[in-house]
Symmetry: C2
Subunit: 581 residues, 2 copies
C-alpha cells in the first residue's frame, strides 16, 4: 500500500510513530506562520501541520495544494495542543516531513462538504464528486451493510442465492418491458426481467426449497422520485410453507436488519387486513407511525338535508389533534390543496372543538349542537381538536382522505423519519378492474393463489376474491410484497382465463411454467423486497436516488455518462433494426 494508515485511525497511542497517509486535501490554512492541512479519505480526516521551521521547499509545496488535490504525506504523529473532541483523530496531528502530490484537481463545481452548494443537476453531472461527500458515500456504505446482513440472515436459514437470467422473454402481463434485439436471432428480442418471478418458481419445482437473490430488475415506466428504470429486489421463495411461515421468516429478516444495521429493536409487527387498511387509512400501505384513523360518518350525518353528505357514497372524517387554531385562511388553503387535480377533492368540511367546549362547523346551517356533539363523540375530540370531513365516492374519498391524513400527520410532526412502524397488510384482492382495458388484471401477478374458499367467486364476483397475498409496509411505504403461489396447472390455467388469455396465448407465454406444474410442483410462496426503498428508509431519506450510486433522472437519463445515446448505423444493421422517428 502507498500508505501505512488511513485518515481515520490515528490516535494518541500512535504518537511518535512515523506514518504515511494518502487522501484528498479537504482544506488548508495558514495561521501565524503555521500551515494546517486537513487530509480526507473514506475513513476520516487527519490534520497535517507544517511549522515555521519546516524546510522551505516543503512549505512552498504545501502552499501550492488546492482543495481536492490527492496527496501522499509522511510524517510523525504528534499530540495536539488544542484537541478536537468532535473528530475521531482530533487528539493528534501529523508533522509533515515528506509530501508528494499524486494528482492535482481543478476547483470542483460545488463544495465537497456535508452540506454542499451544488444544485441537483450539477451534482448529477458530477456524480463522482457528489459521491465524494461523506453523507452520500455513507448511504452506500449503509446499503452494503444491509445487503451483507440480508445474505447472512438468509444463508443461515439454508436459503441459497441463485442467479437468474437477465436476458429473458417479453410477456404481456405487468409493466412495460425493456427489450434487447438479438443479433443471433434476427427479428427476435430478449426482455429484461421485471422480476425473476417465474424463474424462482421453477427453482421451487426443481426442489431448491429456499431461494433468494439480491437482483436488478427493470421496468420501462414513467419515472418519479421513488422509481428508477432499474432497481434492486431482495427476491425470495420457499417450498412446503404456509403464509404464516413466510411472514415469520421475513419479519425476522427485517428485525435482524434493523437491529444489526441501525441498532433499532422492533417488536412484533402488527397485521391488518387489506379491507381494514382501506377503511381506516384509505390506503393499502398505511403509515401507522400515528393514529388518526378514518371515522365513517354515514350513519351520523345523513338525513339532515345537507346534499353533499346525503348524496355521498361515503362521508369520512379524521380528528386533526390540536388543530382547532387553524385560521380560516389556513383552512381555505388546505381546501385548495385538496382540490388540486392530483387529489381532486370537491371540498372540505370541518368542525372546530373550541377551547370553551363548543363545537363550530362549516356546516352549522345543517347540523345543530346535538349533531355536532355526536361528531365529537365519534371522533373522540377534545378541546383544541379539528374535525376534517370529506364526502364522495368510496374509492375516491378514501384516497383523498389518505392524502389529507398524511399531510396533517406531517404538519403535526408525526412522521419522524427516525421512527419505524412496520405493518403486514394481508388478504389483498386477487384481481383489480382496469378501466382502460375493461378487464380484470392481477393485483400482484398472475401466479398469486386465490383463497380456496373464494375460488367459487371467480366466476360470479371476481373483484371480491381475496388472494393469499401480503405486503410489508414501513412508515407508509410498501417495501415488500408476496404471496402463496398457484402450483396447480388447472388453477393456473383458470387464472389465465380470467385474465383474458386464450389457452393458446397462455401456453405461448407461460407454457414452460404450466408444463413444469405437471411434473410435481411443490406448494410454494415467497416475497420480494424493494431494496432501494428499504435502504432509503434506513438512510432516513425521501428519495431512492440517494441510495443508488449512479441513478437516472426522470427522463431515464444518466446525465453523467450522457446515456442513452445514439448508436452507430453499423450496430443497427448487425441487429437488423432501424429507428423510425
Amino acid at each position: 500500500m502507498l500508505r501505512t494508515h488511513t485518515c481515520g485511525e490515528l490516535q494518541i497511542s500512535h504518537v511518535g510513530q512515523k506514518v504515511t497517509l494518502c487522501g484528498w486535501v479537504q482544506k488548508s490554512r495558514d495561521l501565524g506562520g503555521t500551515t494546517f492541512i486537513d487530509v480526507r479519505d473514506r475513513y476520516g480526516l487527519t490534520q497535517l501541520v507544517l511549522h515555521s521551521d519546516t524546510d522551505a521547499a516543503l512549505r512552498d509545496k504545501s502552499r501550492s495544494l488546492g482543495r481536492e488535490f490527492v496527496i501522499r504525506v509522511t510524517g510523525t504523529v504528534l499530540e495536539r495542543t488544542s484537541k478536537n473532541a468532535k473528530m475521531a483523530t482530533g487528539d493528534i496531528e501529523i508533522n509533515v516531513e515528506e509530501l508528494e502530490i499524486l494528482n492535482e484537481s481543478k476547483i470542483p463545481p460545488f463544495m465537497i462538504e456535508d452540506d454542499t452548494d451544488g444544485g441537483e443537476e450539477l451534482r448529477a453531472k458530477y456524480r463522482y464528486l457528489d459521491l465524494r461527500r461523506t453523507p452520500v458515500r455513507n448511504n452506500l456504505v449503509l446499503r452494503h451493510k444491509m445487503a451483507q446482513e440480508v445474505r447472512r440472515y438468509l444463508s443461515d436459514l439454508d436459503f441459497i442465492e441463485v442467479e437468474t437470467p437477465v436476458l429473458i422473454k417479453s410477456t404481456p402481463e405487468g409493466a412495460r418491458d425493456f427489450v434487447v434485439p438479438s443479433r443471433m436471432n434476427p427479428g427476435e428480442f430478449y426482455a429484461l426481467p421485471q422480476s425473476p418471478q417465474t424463474f424462482k418458481q421453477l427453482l421451487m419445482v426443481s426442489g431448491f426449497d429456499r431461494y433468494f437473490q439480491i437482483v436488478k430488475c427493470f421496468r420501462d415506466e414513467d419515472l418519479r422520485a421513488d422509481r428508477q428504470p432499474e432497481f434492486t429486489q431482495i427476491d425470495c421463495e420457499m417450498s412446503f410453507i404456509t403464509q404464516e411461515d413466510i411472514l415469520n421468516i421475513f419479519e425476522g429478516m427485517t428485525r435482524h436488519l434493523f437491529s444489526k444495521v441501525k441498532g433499532v429493536e422492533l417488536t412484533d409487527f402488527p397485521r391488518m387486513y387489506y379491507a381494514d387498511a382501506m377503511r381506516l387509512y384509505g390506503s393499502d400501505k398505511p403509515d401507522i407511525r400515528f393514529g388518526m384513523e378514518f371515522v365513517e360518518m354515514n350513519d351520523i350525518v345523513k338525513g339532515k338535508n345537507f346534499g353533499v353528505f346525503d348524496n355521498a357514497e361515503l362521508v369520512v372524517a379524521i380528528n386533526a389533534k390540536g388543530c382547532a387554531n387553524y385560521t380560516r385562511k389556513q383552512l381555505d388553503e388546505l381546501t385548495e390543496w385538496l382540490k388540486r387535480p392530483q387529489i381532486g377533492a370537491t371540498g372540505l368540511i370541518y368542525a372546530r372543538h373550541n377551547e370553551d367546549g363548543t363545537i363550530k362547523s362549516s356546516v352549522d346551517k345543517f347540523y345543530d349542537e346535538a349533531a355536532l356533539a355526536e361528531w365529537s363523540k365519534a371522533l373522540n375530540t377534545e378541546a383544541g381538536d379539528l374535525i376534517l370531513i370529506l364526502a364522495g365516492g368510496i374509492d375516491k374519498v378514501r384516497k383523498q382522505m389518505n392524502e389529507l391524513r398524511l399531510e396533517i400527520g406531517g404538519r403535526l410532526g408525526l412522521r419522524d423519519k427516525s421512527k419505524f412502524a412496520p405493518l403486514w397488510v394481508l388478504d389483498f384482492p386477487l384481481l383489480e378492474w382496469d378501466e382502460e382495458s375493461a378487464r380484470y388484471h392481477a393485483m400482484h401477478h398472475p401466479f398469486t393463489s386465490p383463497k380456496p374458499e373464494d375460488i367459487d367467486m371467480l366466476d360470479t364476483n371476481p373483484g371480491e376474491v381475496r388472494a393469499n397475498a401480503y405486503d410489508l409496509v414501513i412508515n407508509g411505504t410498501e417495501i415488500g410484497g408476496g404471496s402463496i403461489r398457484i402450483s396447480d396447472k388447472k388453477l393456473q390455467s383458470l387464472m389465465f382465463k380470467h385474465l383474458g388469455f386464450s389457452p393458446e396465448e397462455a401456453q405461448k407465454q407461460f407454457g414452460f411454467l404450466l408444463d413444469a406444474f405437471e411434473f410435481g410442483a411443490p406448494p410454494h410462496g415467497g416475497i420480494a423486497f424493494g431494496f432501494d426503498r428499504l435502504a432509503s428508509i434506513f438512510a432516513e431519506l425521501d428519495s431512492i436516488r440517494d441510495v443508488i450510486a449512479f441513478p437516472k433522472n426522470n427522463s431515464g437519463r444518466d446525465v453523467m455518462i450522457d446515456s442513452p445515446s445514439t448508436i452507430a448505423e453499423a450496430q443497427m444493421q448487425e441487429l437488423k433494426i432501424r429507428t423510425v422517428l
Copy 2:
C-alpha cells in the same frame, strides 16, 4: 412449515418420534407385502415403509404414487433392521401413518437420478427437471457458497459492494454491446455493460477506496462452451495501491475460497512474465499442472540442409515422456489432428528415444546420431520418451505447440481436474495489433497503464510496450485479469490517441472519465474474476453451463422459455424501432 423435518436429517436419535416430511417420490417398491418408498428433497433421501398390516386405504394410496409425485407424509421414526451406511438417513425409516399427495407428476422425460439418460437438448428444455438432479443442484449450492465466501473475505478487508448500473452507454471499444432502445429518448439506446470498468474507476475517484461487486456482464459475441451472452464477474478495484498489493489480496481471496469451499490448501502462487509464458508454453494461460515446457531448437537444428527447419522462424520441441511406444499409425493420426484447420500445423517431426538407448527420428536423413544426441540432451529425454517438434512462424508454431502439449498432457493423465495449479502471469503487452482493422487495440482495455519505463516506446515500438497488467490462471484457464489503471488525463488521452480515437471521439465516448481525472483521481487498480469459470473449476467441470441455473445455448437461446422471441408490433411502435429482415 408443512414438515417437521427435512428428508436429510433423521437419525437413530429420532427413533420413536412422530415426524412429518415433504418431498418427491424417488422410487417405490413392494417386497413381500411391504412397500418401501424413498422420498427426496434438497437435503437428502428418507425411506418410508408401509407394512402389510397398514390400513388398506393408505396402502392403496401409497401404491398409486408415481415417480416425482410430491407427497407429505406423517409417521413414526423406526430403527431399520438392515441399515444402509451409504445413506445419511440409512439407520432409520418412517412407518407411514398419514399420506397426502400434494401434487402429481407425469412421467419425467428423463431419469431424475445422478446419472441421467436425458440428452443435452431434452435436459435444456426441461431445465427445471435437470436442476432437480442432485449433482446439478450441488453445482449451484457450491456457487452460492463461493459467492458467500468472496463477500465475506472482501468485506472483512473493508471492501464495499456497490451496485453499478446495467443500463449504460454503448462504446466502440471491446466486444459487441447488447443494446436497449429507450422509449423515453426515441432514437437512443442504452447498452448493457461488458464490465463495470469505468464506473468502478469513478468510484475510486469518489474515494470509495475499496470496491467490489459480484455482477452480471454482457457480451454479444459468438458463443462456445465457456462463453455465455450474460456472465458473472467478481469485480474489484482499490486505491492507493501497487500491483503487489493487488496480487497479494486476490491471491489471498483465491486461497481463502479453495480452503473454505473445497478444503484445498494452496501454497504461494508462482508468477511468470507474459514473455516467458509465451516462450515456454506458447500461451498466456499456461496449464502448469504439468511441465513439458517448450524447448527452442533453432540453435541446434538449423544448418543441416533440412529446409523445413532452416526456413522456419522457430523450431520448438517438447518431450512427451514415455510416449516412445506411439506407433507410426498413432503418430500419423496426431499429425492429422495437428493439420486440422483449427490448429493449422503443416507437419509433425518426431524422434523416439528407444529402450535400447538409440534415438530414431522421422528426419534421420538430415540428422545423424550425434545431432540427435544433442536433441536428447536439450530435451532431457530418457529411454521411452518421444520428442515432438513443430516448425514455422513464431506466433503460429507456439500456438500449435500449446495445443499439442495440452493434448499430450491430457493423454498422459496430467490434467487431473481435482488438482489445482494457479499462476500469475505478469507484464502483458499494452497493445496488440489487429490485422482486420489494421491498428493497435488495447490488449486488456484502454484504461490499463503502461509501464512508466516503456511509455517512450508508444511512438516508436508500440507492440513492445508492457502494461501493468496481470492475469490469474488456474489449470490453463484465465480466471481473473486486471491492471493498474491510468489516473492521469494526459496519459489517458495519449492512450486514446494511440488506439485511433480523435480527441473529439475520446471526449464524446469517455469524456466523463477524462473529466473526472481532472478533479483529483487517486492512483488505483483492480481485477475482475470470471465467476462462472471459477465456479466450473471448483465444480471440476469443463463447461460453465453446468454452474449456471438457466444457461443459454450456442445460439444464445433459452430453449426452456423459448427466448428470444418476437415482440408485439405495438411494443416496437412505442420504442420507435422496426426490424429489417
